[in-house]
Symmetry: C2
Subunit: 128 residues, 2 copies
């Protein structure tokens, strides 16, 4: 299964170790920049929040158990270190401007590739 990034995300964190364990535990702001060929995917975006699916490109993919508790596997956690380092961060949307999404609540390392953007389940239920 192969993914090409649809964009990247800028954050204040050089590594995920500097970020809060979950983005909403802090109030750091970031910017998602969608690549030009995927810009139409952002048309009509007006939701108050967004799920950012990103790729922890510096994560150790060989790890199967947690450093802090080797009796627990990585699938019991949300740590970026895991066989397929696809990470999920639900952020508050501050502004949408063409191909840029300014968001609050980021926890990615700066420059991380973005795999996908999704409506949050909560917002979808409000709409439907």
């Amino acid at each position: 299964m192969h993914c090409d990034p649809i964009g990247t995300v800028s954050t204040p964190f050089e590594t995920t170790g500097e970020a809060p364990p979950q983005g909403f535990q802090g109030d750091a702001e970031g910017v998602v920049r969608v690549r030009e060929e995927f810009a139409a995917g952002l048309s009509g975006f007006d939701a108050p929040s967004v799920v950012i699916v990103w790729w922890a490109d510096r994560a150790d993919r060989s790890v199967l158990t947690l450093d802090r508790d080797p009796s627990r596997g990585v699938f019991t956690s949300r740590s970026p270190a895991r066989p397929n380092p696809v990470c999920l961060t639900e952020c508050t949307v501050l502004a949408v401007d063409d191909r840029r999404l300014r968001v609050r609540g980021v926890d990615m390392a700066d420059g991380s590739p973005v795999v996908d953007l999704k409506a949050s389940v909560r917002d979808r239920l409000d709409r439907s």
Copy 2:
């Protein structure tokens, strides 16, 4: 960015079109089977829910806007049709048995590849 599936998920649905739009809107049960080489990743799993990150391998990856409303892009939705068809379903865990996780609230097509399993944010906050 390349992923190898960590397992597959069995569900009652031949296609995603037969499933509820979001799994928790129904009560369909499914089984995640983790591949042997990733079994350690499930060690100590005892949470009441799990986020299943799966790959919609039959989705149309060329779609950028919604069929039902072409003024809206796929990134405003949770439809499986999108450039990188990584989908998220939070399920209730019914049983954990070695490398198998029996869950309620599935919405995947039967046999879909599983990319990752994660603790839900809600459960993590309860623990920490």
